[in-house]
Amino acid sequence: MTPGVAPAVELRELSKRFGEVAANAGVNLRVRAGTIHGVIGENGAGKSTAMKLLYGMLRPDSGEILVEGIPCVWSSPAEAIARGIGMVHQHFMLAGPYTALDNILLGAEPVRRGMVDRRAARLKLDALARQYGLPVDWDRPIEELPVGVQQRVEILKLLYRDARILILDEPTAVLTPQETNGLFENLKKLRGEGKTVLLVTHKLRDVMAFTDHVTVFRAGRVAGDMPTSQTNPQELANLMVGRKVILNIQVPPAQPRPESALEISGLTLAGAAGSRHRLAGISLRVKRGEIVGIAGVEGNGQSELVQAILHPRDPRCRTSGAVNVLGREVSGWAAARIRALGVAVIPEDRLHEGLLPERPVRENFLLGLQRTAEFSRAGVLNSRRLADAATAAVSEYDVRPPDVDLCAGHLSGGNQQKLIVAREFHRRPSLLIAAQPTRGVDVGAIEFIHQRIVRARDEGAGVLLVSSELDEVLALSDRIMVMYEGRITAEFARGAASEQELGLRMGGA
């Protein structure tokens, strides 16, 4: 670090407790001005807490925060903003029906003769957008803009308020690979203009590709701090988890059985004219004992495909074409009847579709299994057996903390996902439909979930894996199909496709 130049941000021995738990226990962090600084760690490692302390959303119990060399004590984010700190939250803070312009002005409206001076604001924003290469259609309502552009609006919001230090919390979680690359081009431009970027993430790939320096958090402390050029993904993963992690598991070749787990022919879903949300003559077959991966940029019909298989009665999923699950033609079936055939589902939106966040782990374990003979008789639940099974599953699947009375919403993302996997695998499925099974999940849990999926395959389940993570599709799938605009546009056997080729196919080439 250059002597004499104050770091943009310095945290000294920062500590913050919640009850008995030290979320931050003496965090030391220095961020050099004009760099992209990665902050990585598993869920619950304390990186978000540290950023919330820096941004004034929380107050430290002890320790110091220095911004550009000046000690700061915030009582609210407004004070941090005034000192040039801005934060883009993982869940955007935007008002959907308002235009992009009004979203940026909200709370910082330029006033002229008692009226909002949109013209002056637009001039300033046009200049900013040009300077940093962040074009936005100012007059479109936010909800009509793609996620990547919404993120641009969030960044412009900070720049409009003259932020010099930008904190981005998990900015790539919602982006497609192309949008991710676009974002990082923008961040590099921001760095070129002298801004400092703090990138909070758990994606090793993002850190390795785009940061200058990286700090690893584990269990409320800093476990490592080094220039990105002097480290590698394996070392970072080990530091995050605190043990040796297998980043890409070795999958033995499949031994597929002759019988099908899932057979789809000519599946078509008519959507609104011009929308991408439709399916055009999808045909595919998943044998028992093999993993078929559906690769594709999100929004190319993967969600619709899964819904059409599982909810044939729902008018929004109404299709033509035939779906055969485990030897049964399921058109017109109720969802529960299909699941009872031995179908397990890892839904793509864990919090929305997979869990009851305000109910205890025990009840979440029961969800979908409540009518099985194991847990109920004549409509009456067997609470004792449920408690035993949930406790056993929580320990087998390493859900932490292992407390079946804790609300599911209080678990970290990785542990929520492990809970869902535990529940769905309790069926001993013959068909597993796994949609984005490791999205937003930390490294240790990814390894675990991948191993379980492969084990289910080896025990004879057919697996349909839908994922937008190339690494995941490549590592797990015995066959890969690429989906683009509602069609299957390519098919590869294991090892037959390179990452580049797959990426091109996903882009429609």
Binding site: R17, S62, D349, R359
Partner: protein, 397 residues
């Protein structure tokens, strides 16, 4: 405000429910440690809130020129001081248990039943109609039949908005409110033109046959406390068993928590919504048993002092739990009875003062944010807690 500040400072002011909505997963373990406290807090907070609401209400009577202590004594004596007083309290509480359960059951399934008033109107009308049309039926067949009619009419009146919500997507709040008006109109029509009582000037139906009457308990000095009270308590137990012990109850709560997650798990949310509102309507319809078979022996237009709407307050105060609903119904019944005595025994107060008390109790129960704010401020004043010796420092570059 002076009440209970110490009692509130059990720990960080995390709203247990709100926290799940925010993605503060980092705090997961911290919440777990707090998990024991919300249990205490869930019980204590409404009690303190009721005390606060009563205190505010009594203070209001002082403004009206009464001695608050005197008012409290009259209230308590009126509601509990005699067999008759206690009986009237229980008489008012019984329909509130039914309507409170009705609102609570729907709420557990994620639905807001504002239609208990219409459902109980039709329930009472159905019971009275059965009794008026077949007056000769013998006991015990007669009251059972009338009770089933009340239940069925209420269920029908609940199932309609349930079906509209589940299959047509129209909101149950609008539809239950509108069905209240239709029920009132229907009941007036039947009472005036179809089954009108030839011996009365009032808008009411013909009296039911003698075989329909359910016993009134003599210990209450003539207050119309009937077998409807044990029926209401039984209903509370049944609702508790349903919600906590059965597959259907679990599915109802799952739909109430997250329609999307329930659907993904293979539950048909629409079917559950129809069932839940039908059940809610049936519970409200059972109000007719106490009113028609146990009290009036006929359907009187306007017999309900808005029991259906008070049921919303009862469910809110009772936190949508059957035991809480019973307790809250008893409280509101007592206020209703006690306030009637205030009307007679004080110079400046009328029976409507019970509404003021109810409103203040509801407001203080709802003011959860204020409680959290107070305990947060208290901690801020006390200053930060020491953290102990700094732990191993991180590796700085």
């Amino acid at each position: 405000m002076a009440f209970g500040e110490d009692a509130l400072d059990w720990g960080p002011a995390f709203d247990e429910d709100a926290s799940a909505r925010r993605p503060y997963l980092e705090l997961a373990i911290g919440y777990r440690l707090l998990a024991i406290f919300p249990a205490v807090r869930r019980i204590l907070q409404p009690i303190l809130a009721v005390a606060a609401g009563l205190g505010l209400g009594l203070a209001a009577t002082a403004i009206a020129g009464e001695n608050p202590w005197h008012v409290l004594v009259i209230l308590a004596r009126g509601a509990f001081g005699s067999g008759y007083g206690l009986g009237m309290t229980l008489f008012y509480s019984t329909p509130l248990i039914f309507t409170g359960l009705s609102v609570a059951v729907a709420f557990q399934a994620g639905l807001f039943n504002i239609g208990a008033e219409g459902q109980l109107t039709l329930g009472a009308l159905a019971a009275a109609a059965v009794g008026a049309v077949w007056p000769g039926l013998p006991w015990p067949l007669a009251p059972v039949l009338a009770g089933v009619a009340a239940l069925a009419a209420g269920m029908l009146w609940g199932a309609i908005p349930g079906w509209l919500r589940a299959r047509r997507g129209s909101h149950e709040v609008i539809n239950t409110i509108m069905l209240n008006f239709i029920a009132a109109g229907l009941a007036s029509y039947v009472a005036l033109y179809v089954l009108s009582n030839p011996d009365s000037q009032n808008p009411e139906t013909r009296p039911i046959g003698a075989g329909y009457c359910i016993s009134q308990y003599a210990v209450f000095g003539g207050a119309p406390v009937s077998a409807a009270l044990p029926l209401a308590l039984l209903a509370a137990v049944a609702v508790w068993l349903l919600m906590s012990r059965t597959v259907l109850g679990f599915e109802m709560r799952a739909v109430g928590q997250s329609e999307a997650a329930a659907r993904a798990a293979g539950i048909d949310p629409g079917r559950i919504q129809i069932l839940a509102l039908a059940l809610a309507g049936g519970l409200a319809g059972l109000v007719g048993v106490g009113e028609v078979l146990g009290n009036a022996q006929k359907f009187k237009v306007g017999f309900s002092p808005e029991y259906g709407f008070m049921g919303i307050a009862v469910a809110l105060l009772g936190r949508n739990q059957p035991a809480g609903v019973v307790a809250a119904a008893m409280l509101f019944g007592a206020l209703h009875k006690g306030a009637a005595d205030l009307d007679m025994e004080t110079e400046h107060l009328t029976r409507e003062v019970s509404m003021i008390f109810q409103a203040l109790i509801i407001l203080s129960v709802s003011a959860e944010g204020v409680w959290n704010w107070m305990s947060a401020r208290r901690r801020a004043v006390k200053g930060v807690k020491p953290v102990g010796a700094p732990l191993e420092p991180g590796v700085a570059s």
